[in-house]
């Protein structure tokens, strides 16, 4: 009889595990993961609604459903939201919840830093979206090209919300990246050598390295831009001797690795799901590790392929063209190894598997169109058109979102102890698959036939209406598919928590403990002899695993809850956000100093608070 230890012998401390206060003070990586997931999913839906409004506006030529100003804010915030508040924190949910479980750790290396990351992310997301309420939503594009972002061409707070909001979110990303990097390096179970780590942990590990190297670049660029806008410098202003193209280089040195930050976690998730549902180990494990690392490395040497139309000259064009083509090789290796994993397997076509296969099938399309515009002369026709919109949605929606959704179905039982309905999941998959392809495939045609991006409308005589209409219907289907997903989760929440520890015959450590796991994860960490430790134990047990029992956590020390990370996060928000007021009144720096005081006091109390 599995009884909860929490009932009679609280595992560690002392605090109640319910109520809002317990969520605010939690340092448990699993609860922080859930916080990340819920918050990011809400932002994701918001970004989806922004997209649907744009789709309705574009349904017919010369439409006036939204004003040009609002449309520009919508596409700016759609991109910003989906990248920084949707896909990245949804990945962070899985990092949080599953990196410690998959490596056999009791928590991340710095549990309170982890809580801090979440609170900064939440406050940054609220800050940047608050701009909608005062009619000052960012409107210069998620790429914020100078010199449109200068005070002269973007007066008002719109661009300030964007600059400062991204700065705040960057703090969260950096703190989290350091945390996961250290966790993976230091806290693996005995026997789990680097080349025995689950592929999700590997891809997460590479992602953290990318974050650590790419985010400082955008931070610097944003500081420059903030200085230009508020403190009369002219890094990007030609009239003062600055150069707008500097922004593009800095932005894309960050921006291209960012693409891999968004997609590698999904690569990892799919590399977990395909073997489990093919009942066969990942084909070419080592090739998968090194191709991922190679993609990430090359990702820093291709940024100017976003800039072929800027006229860099033939030598730069040729270099960045060839380096971009080179990335197709390790990407192809990944796809072939996924297919190799399925080949000869015994495919169990459950919902997570469908989403994982969908991810592979659609990522191929995005990869091929990527090769098409690695050809600079051809890119001169394709860049800034809907062809590019099609391409990166195949990569980031068809790839990243499908992968993350696969992960959600795969790990939902582990996180909440309840199975999602498989029939409804399959309905969700087919609606999303059709909706996605109807929405985004025709964009290839529109782009090649001359429809530019970022236009709030188009004239009727260019004949863009038909495909735009088709796309809008597709996008509505896509939107509805998420209602099915939400309904599925809601239904599951009303069922008893009776999911088995291992509903899928999983290969990795998280399936060896009860669903949901106890606060301390593992009372005893099992020995690891391969990349598939749960399969090793299952084979040793003659094909079955005993259902793990909930055990007493007496004697296991878990970190104490703390509200200082949240307080410190407020300090970050106020310190950075106060720059908004530089033009409003001359004593703005009192707000900055207040924020800094909260920040420093928070860190001080946090540092001197006993951890256990």
């Amino acid at each position: 009889m599995a009884t909860s230890v929490v009932d009679h012998a609280p595992a560690s401390h002392h605090e109640p595990h319910t109520g809002i206060w317990s969520w605010i003070t939690t340092v448990d990586h699993k609860r922080i993961g859930i916080l990340y997931g819920v918050t990011a999913f809400i932002f994701f839906l918001l970004g989806g609604i922004e997209a649907l409004i744009m789709r309705i506006q574009l349904m017919k030529p010369d439409n006036t459903f939204v004003s040009p100003e609002l449309f520009n804010s919508l596409f700016t915030m759609h991109g910003t939201t989906m990248i920084f508040l949707g896909v990245m924190p949804l990945s962070a949910m899985f990092f949080n919840y599953f990196i410690p479980l998959q490596i056999g750790a009791r928590d991340v290396a710095f549990p309170r830093l982890n809580a801090f990351s979440y609170w900064v992310f939440l406050l940054g997301g609220l800050f940047i979206n608050f701009s909608f309420l005062i009619n000052a939503a960012p409107n210069a594009g998620w790429f914020g090209y100078a010199n449109l972002t200068s005070n002269q061409y973007s007066p008002g707070l719109n661009t300030d919300f964007w600059v400062l909001g991204l700065q705040i979110l960057g703090v969260a990303s950096m703190a989290a990246a350091i945390n996961f990097f250290v966790t993976i390096v230091n806290m693996r179970a005995p026997g789990m050598k680097m080349l025995r780590m689950p592929m999700f942990v590997w891809m997460s590990f590479i992602t953290q390295i990318l974050l650590l190297l790419a985010f400082p670049v955008i931070t610097i660029a944003l500081v420059f831009l903030m200085m230009d806008r508020h403190f009369a410098t002219h890094f990007f202003l030609p009239e003062g001797g600055g150069d707008p193209i500097l922004w593009q280089h800095l932005f894309w040195i960050f921006g291209h690795p960012e693409v891999y930050i968004l997609i590698l976690p999904s690569f990892g998730i799919v590399s977990e799901i395909l073997p489990v549902f093919s009942r066969k180990p990942l084909f070419g494990y080592t090739a998968m590790v090194f191709s991922g690392a190679f993609i990430a490395f090359l990702g820093f040497g291709v940024w100017s392929h976003h800039m072929f139309s800027t006229g860099m000259g033939p030598f730069a064009d040729a270099f960045f063209s060839l380096s971009t083509m080179l990335i197709a090789v390790p990407t192809g290796v990944k796809i072939f190894n996924w297919i190799g994993t399925m080949w000869g397997g015994s495919l169990q076509l459950k919902t997570p598997m469908l989403f994982a296969i969908g991810m592979v099938a659609q990522f191929i399309v995005g990869g091929l169109s990527g090769v098409m515009h690695s050809v600079p002369p051809a890119d001169l026709q394709q860049t800034d058109t809907y062809f590019i919109v099609a391409h990166f949605h195949y990569v980031l929606f068809g790839g990243a979102i499908f992968g993350l959704t696969a992960g959600a179905y795969y790990w939902f039982p582990k996180m909440f102890g309840r199975m999602l309905d498989d029939k409804m999941g399959k309905l969700h998959f087919w609606m999303m698959f059709l909706g996605f392809n109807i929405t985004f495939f025709p964009m290839h045609f529109l782009g090649l036939n001359g429809m530019p991006r970022r236009v709030y409308t188009y004239p009727g005589d260019l004949n863009f209406e038909f495909w735009n209409q088709v796309q809008t219907w597709g996008s509505l289907l896509l939107g509805v598919s998420f209602l099915v997903f939400i309904y599925n989760m809601w239904k599951a929440s009303r069922r008893p928590a009776d999911a088995p520890a291992d509903p899928w015959r999983g290969a990795t450590l998280e399936w060896l403990i009860p669903s949901p796991p106890q606060e301390f994860n593992f009372a005893d960490v099992p020995p690891v002899h391969s990349a598939t430790p749960a399969w090793d134990l299952r084979r040793a047990g003659g094909g079955t695993l005993p259902e793990p029992q909930r055990v007493s956590g007496a004697g296991i020390h878990m970190p104490r809850p703390s509200y200082w990370p949240a307080v410190t996060a407020v300090g970050v928000l106020v310190t950075i956000g106060s720059i908004l007021f530089t033009h409003a009144f001359s004593q703005w720096y009192f707000i900055t100093l207040t924020g800094a005081a909260i920040l420093i006091y928070g860190i001080y109390r946090w540092a001197y608070e006993p951890a256990f």
Binding site: P68, E69, N72, G141, N147, L148, Y153, P238, P244, R279, P281, G284, S309, T310, G311, G313, P314, D317, A318, M325, L326, V329, G332, V333, F336, N337, I339, G340, W343, G344, G345, S346, L347, Q348, A361, I364, L368, V371, M372, P377, L380, Q382, D384, T385, F445, L448, N449, G450, M451, P452, R453, R454, V455, P459, D461, L462, N463, F466, W467, G543
Partner: protein, 367 residues
Amino acid sequence: MEKSSGLVRRLARQAPALCLLLLIAACAKDYPQTTLQPRGDFARMVDDLFRTTVVWATIVFVLVEGVLLWAIFKFRGRADDPEPRQVHGNTTLEVVWTVIPAFILVAIAVPTVKTIFKTSDYATGPGVVQIEVIGHQWWWEFRYPELGVVTGNEMHIPVGKTVNLRMTTADVLHSFWVPQFAGKRDVFPGRYNPLWFKAEVTGIFSGQCAEFCGVQHARMGFKLISETQEEFDAWVARERIGSPLVNAGTVPADTTTPADSAGRAAKLAADSLEQAGRALFSGAGCIGCHAMVGTPLASATSLKGPNLSHVGSRQTLVAGLMPNTEENLRKWLANPDSVKQGTLMVLPKKLTDAEIATLVAYLRSHR
């Protein structure tokens, strides 16, 4: 029902577009701004290269997706099936599927690099028409420094002759794009970017700004008019009358006056409506932003708005937004912001209907 059967009909009509490669070209003729029907040498080189990539992409797509689908159907298993053979990898296969894509990429890379070098830099030499392109929020200025022409939103070029563009911007980044003639090229403040092409046929073609440049980025279109050398020469001769470059003495004035010039002056003097419009144009402040023949600022070359000296002869109004008709011009002058929300054209004062009528007559008389 009516509506859905209409949709089915339209789907059927558009269905060929679903087939890649050959058929996309066939469908392209319905799209006046398509990249798939090149009408200039630059665009044709790009198109050839693009078609090479489409062929390779289609082959890879069919093969890889085919193998994936095959695997899904062939290896479907049931929950109680025995465990399949545990295969961990195959080094030969890894080498094969690393090397084959690399060869395909080389096949794409070689023509790519060749075309990069062929399509870069300025075109020079005798017979090349030099044009200066200046992006503005949200319209295009075209200057022909050697011919003495300054115009807006309508570029005339002689067919069969290479035109060389030297491009910059007066404010933020824009991108010059006429898909049927050449790829995009961004323009930056304080520097010049090159682009060149040669029209293969005559006709009127659509172009549009392709780099996001603020509120009305969507309404920054222009027309490219490719015409015979005779038509082009006639256009140049007409445009030179009242050209700021000619008036300022940047280029020498013509020694002979085109035939219709004297007649027009007489007509202008006779028509009181146009007279009133002319007075209003100077008196109300329009000349603060627009150069115009016969006004004190006729020789200004760096004003905010387009040179209007020949606005009556243009195809469209407001950066390609609407056909150049009396009705549209009246609508525009009554309230520019309601036609193009956010436009930087600010009327010095609200115009009465009578005043608008005089301005319309005045502007349309300038052909």
